[in-house]
Amino acid sequence: MQPRSLYDKLWDAHVVQEESDGTALLYIDRQLVHEVTSPQAFEGLKLADRKPWRLDTLLATPDHNVPTTARTAGNAGIVDPISRTQVETLDANCADFGITEFKIDDLRQGIVHVIGPEQGFTQPGMTLVCGDSHTSTHGAFGALAFGIGTSEVEHVLATQCLWMKKARAMQVLVDGALSPGITAKDIALAVIGQIGTAGGTGYAIEFAGSAIRALSMEGRMTLCNMAIEAGARAGMVAVDDKTVAYMRGRPYSPAGALWDQAVAYWRTLVSDADARFDSVVRLDAAAIKPQVTWGTSPEMVLPVDGCVPDPKDAPNPVKKSDWERALLYMGLSANMPISEIDVDKVFIGSCTNSRIEDLREAAAVVKGRSVASNIRLALVVPGSGLVKQQAEAEGLDKIFRAAGFEWREPGCSMCLAMNADRLEPGERCASTSNRNFEGRQGQGGRTHLVSPAMAAAAAVFGHFVDIREVM
């Protein structure tokens, strides 16, 4: 048999039917559902008098619209009536169809991409989809996971399948050891800086190399989460001991004899030694510095010791006008050192960086310090109720609160500002989220993407600092 990549193996295992032009009907093992991209899909099902194909493959939770302040009032606590309707619509649809849902006041509620792995709902070898582009996160488990649109949400609900063409395979090889203080987020941003936001378009990316093996599962999730920001629908990491150890004992993980059988299969989910990739990108882990985005696209990124670029130096006219527009929007001038950029708000959260390890990294920087006087708001939003509970058990909430951070309830929050947490026009934010698009965190808001430790340091110093110098 020909050597196969991890992607080949995942793909082959799920083909129900293949057409002569290479289009395949792919079986989907799991679907996560949230309130924003599902109402029109459920409406479609009802109109056509259809039912979900397999209820046991579905798990739903509201995350985008939920407030991050007290949850005691349940849905009634959602002030915006349109947001509330959307969450209530999800509840009603889940009740009507019999879908398991972690509702707003459930301890297990959280961002879909945090709760899937946390519950063991996400497993190696699965195909997993969600009406959300950051579904690539789940590829960290050696799974094929990707975001889909609402029509496809309905299609998977109704048929358990999707029509797809196989993507090309890209390997991103990161070898060597990261410097202390450098995280998976910095790797992700450095990769995007190198290949651009369209560099992965049409590809499924496998992250490999010694630096990736050394990452925790949380770090791998952060990395795969941002595969979509490089244009790739799916990112993935091969299964190893860490993957298996993470899976053990989770509520949805296989147990007993099935556990052993599953693990034996999971162990095969690695690329064969001479598997073929259509493209290979190499990075030297030791050379990666703390990354900060300066513009309005994740590819507009620099090491913290760099200076904002000068449009005069742009490689072509399209880039030049992009850079000019980005500088204007971001309120920055060319050649300004990144370390001199002051921030107004700090956001630690999102499906990229709201897991327990992220909160620990940020808390380690904050401990014994306080938030700088120019910071108007510093927010920590855990990714799920269980992450929050764990962090509280470790006393992290106290560290953040003592320093002047606000400690909130789980949800997407200021990652995209569909709830009340947002930037005001002109406000500048150090954010651990994944998108720095114009208006993403609130109209006119200015986002700089960084790691949790870098965001924490920006909160303490009031501007960007090199985390390696303050640890």
């Binding site: 409406e43 369209a198 099935l258 109209q443």
Partner: protein, 212 residues
């Protein structure tokens, strides 16, 4: 889904690269539980001078005179000319819904983000990919000639300019067929029910933990 066969339409040029889905339809409009009505809020942050919220009377809002789609000569455009990596960002299908509801039937750009590209086909919107030099030429011609129209013929896979230049584009045969006929994906897939069930039976033996 509305079938797409042949469209002769006024062209509007949106001259920026990496136009993301947050720009196409800002997130506050994602709170709707409907599929329609997103058109007045397409490109909301660029199009209006005030901050858009769901439920506003869009007709009464101040328009941004500098935004290209607001220019009189582009009113009624049904073909959108764009730059590389159009539609990057989120998976929100609200982006093609908004473009379609605005009145666009076809998009022309050198490249698109994958999920967005896929979503367009599900909504009767044809995303055409042409080489960057040709897109560049179309931008120049559009800017130079008010009332500039293109003819998009899906069956023939061609874009024809007013002076008769013809550009051929690629499109996946299956997608083309569905779009030409406005076919419903789900009922087509359900014709394969037997195969899906056979796959499940097989998979259950190999990987029973996936079925508990």
């Amino acid at each position: 889904m509305r079938p797409f066969t042949r469209v002769e339409g006024l062209v509007a040029p949106l001259d920026r690269a990496n136009v993301d889905t947050d720009a196409i339809i800002p997130k506050q409009f994602l709170k709707s539980i409907k599929r329609t009505g997103f058109g007045p809020n397409a490109f909301d942050e660029w199009r209006y001078l005030d901050r858009g919220e769901p439920g506003m009377d869009n007709g009464a809002r101040p328009l941004n005179p500098d935004f290209v789609l607001n220019q009189a000569r582009y009113q009624g455009a049904s073909v959108l000319l764009a730059r590389e990596n159009f539609g990057c960002g989120s998976s929100r299908e609200h982006a093609p819904w908004a473009l379609e509801d605005y009145g666009f039937r076809a998009l022309i750009a050198p490249s698109y983000a994958d999920i967005f590209y896929n979503n367009c086909f599900k909504n009767g919107l044809l995303p055409i990919m042409l080489p960057a030099e040709i897109v560049d030429r179309l931008f120049q011609e559009t800017l130079a000639a008010p009332g500039y129209k293109l003819v998009v013929d899906l069956a023939a896979q061609t874009v024809t300019t007013p002076n008769g230049a013809v550009f051929v584009f690629d499109v996946d045969a299956e997608r083309k067929n569905r779009l030409l006929n406005g076919l419903d994906d789900i009922s087509l897939t359900l014709q394969h029910t037997g195969k899906i069930q056979a796959y499940e039976a097989r998979r259950k033996l190999e990987a029973p933990w996936l079925f508990v």
